[in-house]
Amino acid sequence: MTSKVFKDAESALFDMKDGVSVMSGGFGLCGIPENSILEIRRRQLKNLHAISNNIGNSGRGLAWLLKEKQISRATCSYVGGNPDLEQQMLSHEVDVTLVPQGTFSERIRAAGMGVRGFYTPAGYGTEIAEGKESREFDLPCLLELPLAADFAIIKAQKGDPYGNLWFQETARNFSPLMAMAAKVTIVEVEQLVELGEILPEDVHLPGVFVQRIYQGSEYENTIEIPIFEDEN
């Protein structure tokens, strides 16, 4: 039986190619898959379609790839806080599609859960509605379609060899949803634990959604806006 456990980012990302779509977990820099992103930079993959809430932030995360002009298309909800993306969006180097964050999450979940489309009020009556089907329920709603990807790169605090995952605090965000929505999901973990070490009730993402897992290293875990009690 083939193991899902890989040695490192280099071995786990072996078949990633130019032009693929890649979902990347994390909110701002919280919970981002640092090792996998750095491996994509090392390999200088080009023409990527990045699907991520922020496409990096503060010059880090996926912004490492923006700086190297590796991303040609981006699907995200927020550009603020990411000067690299703002600049390449304005210069048309990156084709940016903005999606309301709740619709973004639900579209990714829909792809993972086999839901072929759904109706949401978000964005009705705005520019986002252009070209979309609308329909009246208790509120007027837009039809939104699943958002899938070739690869998902995500990070979890703990994971076991089957790929069962446990996320810490607010680092969960989009990661379990993306794991469901990609053809190949590659997980890096702070701690690779034994099978059975995560209580079956407390598994945040069942391993069936994970294709590859490896123990990450040298995490920066950057805090973007540190504010402390009694210091502001």
Binding site: L98, G102, I128, Q168, H204
Partner: protein
């Protein structure tokens, strides 16, 4: 043109929000001025603060000892949580909002209009921040409050008959709190619920037709 001298401070604006909250209710706070609300809510009100990146039960700031890189709010600022907090994924987080389980939502804004429409995500040709969660947050909460300064830096009033900037949501805002007062969008005009002490109707920079009544 600048605003009147007797306007509310940010903290006084925040206190207007806090007065509107029922004990024990749930509250989402947008990026910007609204995040200040978290710092000033009296703990005895038992408010549960939701942040759309996946946490319910946001408390004050962490100490340098307790700070965690994985514990932030939607503004990417470090936070702490109170007892009984929970973490969840983004689909669940926005489901809480969309499903009407969060009682009150407070957002910042660039423009707001008499129809209750809000613009806060882009200025064509100038600035695009993206809508983030705002287009979802304006649908679902029982009370949607927009907090914004009454005048822009250029001196333009931000309460309009109809927004000129691209909308975040159409007909979604219930209350508006500026540094000059509290307003309710009525369709063609705004009702003045309250003015900051010493502020007069004339100082609002709004035509008579745009003000339907003084409460």
């Amino acid at each position: 043109m600048t605003g009147p001298q007797n306007h509310w401070s940010k903290n006084e604006m925040v206190d207007q929000v806090i007065e509107m909250l029922e004990d024990g209710s749930s509250l989402n706070l947008g990026i910007g001025i609204p995040t200040l609300v978290a710092q000033r809510i009296p703990p005895e009100k038992g408010i549960w603060i939701h942040s759309e990146n996946g946490v319910l039960g946001v408390a004050g700031r962490p100490t340098r000892q307790s700070v965690s890189p994985t514990l932030i709010n939607a503004g990417k600022e470090t936070i702490s949580v109170k007892k009984g907090a929970s973490f969840f994924d983004s689909a669940m987080s926005f489901g809480m909002i969309r499903g009407g389980h969060i009682d009150v939502c407070v957002l910042g804004g660039m423009q707001v209009d008499a129809e209750g429409s809000l613009a806060n995500w882009m200025i064509p040709g100038k600035k695009v921040t993206g809508m983030g969660g705002a287009m979802d947050l304006v649908h679902g909460a029982k009370l949607v409050i927009v907090m914004l300064t009454h005048f822009s830096k250029r001196g333009d009033v931000k309460l309009l008959h109809r927004c000129k900037l691209p909308l975040t949501g159409k007909g979604v805002v219930h209350k508006i709190i500026t540094d000059l007062g509290v307003f309710t969008p009525m369709g063609e005009s705004f009702q003045i619920d309250q003015l900051a002490p010493g502020v007069t109707k004339e100082q609002l920079g709004m035509t008579d037709a745009l003000i339907s009544s003084v409460n």
